[in-house]
Amino acid sequence: MSEIGAPARHVAPTVAIGLAYQVVLRQLTSRGRLIGLSLLALVAPLSGWALGSADASLDDAVNLVAGVGLGLVLPIVSLVFGGAALGELREDKTLVYLWLRPMDRWPIVVGAALAAMTLTAPIVLISIVAAAILTGAGNGIVFGTLLATVVGLIAYVSVFTLFGVWLKRFIVWGLAYILIWEGFIAQAGAGVARVALRKYTRSILVERTGADLDLADFGLATGIVIPLIVAVAALAIAAWRLANQDID
């Protein structure tokens, strides 16, 4: 064998998370994607500014943050980064450089999801919190928006990371989930809304502001804990799927 040192035949999970995080972060960081999503995210503060200029009520402000910010900007930005985190590596066939290695699967998924969250967070937090501030509806809405956005981005990115691992057209399926399931079907009733992340982020917002908002009747603890459980479950399923699927 060659003179180069023999490898330790196993990569520790913390090291594997770091390696997956680094490579996915760089892979996801493209100028076009960042500019495009930043422009999309501008919709929220512009809407907030317009509402604030019209001296709107708290309910109107919460409605705007829940609709444009938590209902549109947050899931779409999360979809683009979360879905692409491993979906893009799978599609461009570079996943083999992480898969065929002496490391567990779950650190790859966790590292990729963390990378997607790293890129999603500044865009959605600045955009949606700025929207809340610009409505001029007070500090309650700002803190509630911050909390709901953080919880939402963890859940959405994790779920869309699973989409990227599992589904070939993860963007199409993700958009279908956001626009058709959450935006249309889940509006039909409280029962269906339980399986829509949007209901939980809306509940957090209502709990923190006391505003009147439809489909937002969970307590604060439920609004936080359930999305986080969904996130963990989604990442666990993604790791299982990654271990068992065919790799090109």
């Binding site: 064998m1 060659s2 003179e3 180069i4 040192g5 023999a6 490898p7 330790a8 035949r9 196993h10 990569v11 090291v15 594997a16 390696l19 680094q22 490579v23 760089r26 892979q27 461009d92 066939k93 570079t94 083999v96 450089y97 992480l98 898969w99 065929l100 290695r101 002496p102 490391m103 567990d104 065919d246 790799i247 090109d248």
Partner: protein
């Protein structure tokens, strides 16, 4: 395992010290493929293939779409067999985390992390293998493929040949015991091809199991004497390259001869038993011959003797497809 498809007769059974081998018993070796089939829906990509290989260079020869890459993917655990088993270093590469650190694959696809420099890519590969000194491993691997001077350049700016060499280098950073290379010579210039083939031989001589696929017969001739031939998902021949070459030379060859008088030339070739069959066209004659060397030697003197002019002599079936057709279908 009575269902084991016998490789085409004509190639001698490999000896014990000269893998690859096929057997009716479960096989063992650094790579052991036992009665493996792979289906994608109703498509059979690999059908009941068995062989074992040990240290040294072995060439997997087959036309495009023969199932080479699918076989390689199963050896690396990237896809499970539908039937049968694949063991690498005695373990299942799909389930065994540790054995993945002892295997390296050069995939056929031209996929790299284009935003990384060659050095960064190799360091990343070394780190993901748990190599203790990834920087040293990356530099060493780059020098092995003659890319040390361009290590700082992003691989996205590399030519196809350079990208191919980066992939080979990335497969060397973990000092693998089993090295699987899927069409690694694609895109390389002749000098680099020679260099790579010498590198593969060096790695094989060190005791590593080096399995190289190709669909180009001449490449296989230079890769080494051990050959597995796969066609239509089946293992159709195993053994020594020279035997395969002889098999090629023993079969009937078809030659197209463009000439000023096809009928007269064809008659002469049949009379002198140089042609087993002829097909006469307006300006050429297709000749089936069992002795291509004799035809080559005597064609020019005969044409001078007859006073006919030759404008082209072209073999029509001296390619890999025809060899496979012969091995698989006997024609």
């Amino acid at each position: 395992m009575s269902e084991l498809p016998p490789p085409r007769p004509g190639l001698p059974a490999p000896t014990a010290d000269q893998p690859p081998v096929t057997s009716a018993l479960p096989l063992s070796g650094m790579i052991a493929v036992n009665a493996v089939s792979k289906y994608f829906g109703s498509v059979v990509a690999v059908s009941d293939v068995s062989f074992a290989v040990d240290g040294g260079v072995t060439a997997l020869l087959g036309p495009n779409g023969a199932g080479k890459s699918t076989l390689f993917r199963m050896m690396c655990g990237l896809t499970p067999p539908s039937r049968g088993s694949v063991d690498v270093l005695g373990r299942d590469p799909r389930d065994d985390r540790d054995v993945r650190g002892r295997i390296s694959l050069v995939p056929q696809q031209d996929a790299l992390f284009d935003h990384l420099s060659a050095s960064e890519f190799l360091e990343f590969a070394a780190r993901t293998h748990g190599v203790i000194d990834p920087d040293a491993a990356a530099r060493h691997a780059l020098s092995m493929v003659d890319l040390a001077d361009v290590g700082a350049k992003p691989v996205g700016q590399f030519s196809k040949g350079m990208r191919q060499r980066v992939k080979v280098a990335a497969a060397l950073v973990n000092d693998p015991e089993v090295l699987i290379l899927d069409e690694p010579l694609t895109g390389l210039d002749p000098v680099q091809r020679r260099h790579m083939i010498a590198l593969f031989h060096q790695l094989g001589d060190e005791g590593r199991c080096v399995l190289v696929s190709s669909h180009v017969l001449d490449e296989v001739a230079r890769l080494g004497s051990r050959v597995l031939v796969i066609a239509q998902g089946r293992l159709v021949a195993t053994g020594d390259y020279r035997d395969l070459r002889e098999l090629m030379d023993d079969r009937a060859h078809r030659i197209r001869i463009a000439t000023s008088d096809p009928r007269r030339l064809a008659t002469a070739l049949v009379e002198r038993e140089l042609a087993a069959g002829v097909s006469i066209g307006e300006h050429s004659v297709l000749v089936d011959t069992l002795d291509v060397d004799a035809l080559g030697r005597r064609l020019a003197p005969i044409s001078v003797e007859l006073g006919v002019r030759l404008t082209e002599v072209a073999p029509l079936d001296d390619d890999l497809e025809s060899v496979f057709r012969y091995l698989v279908e006997g024609r």
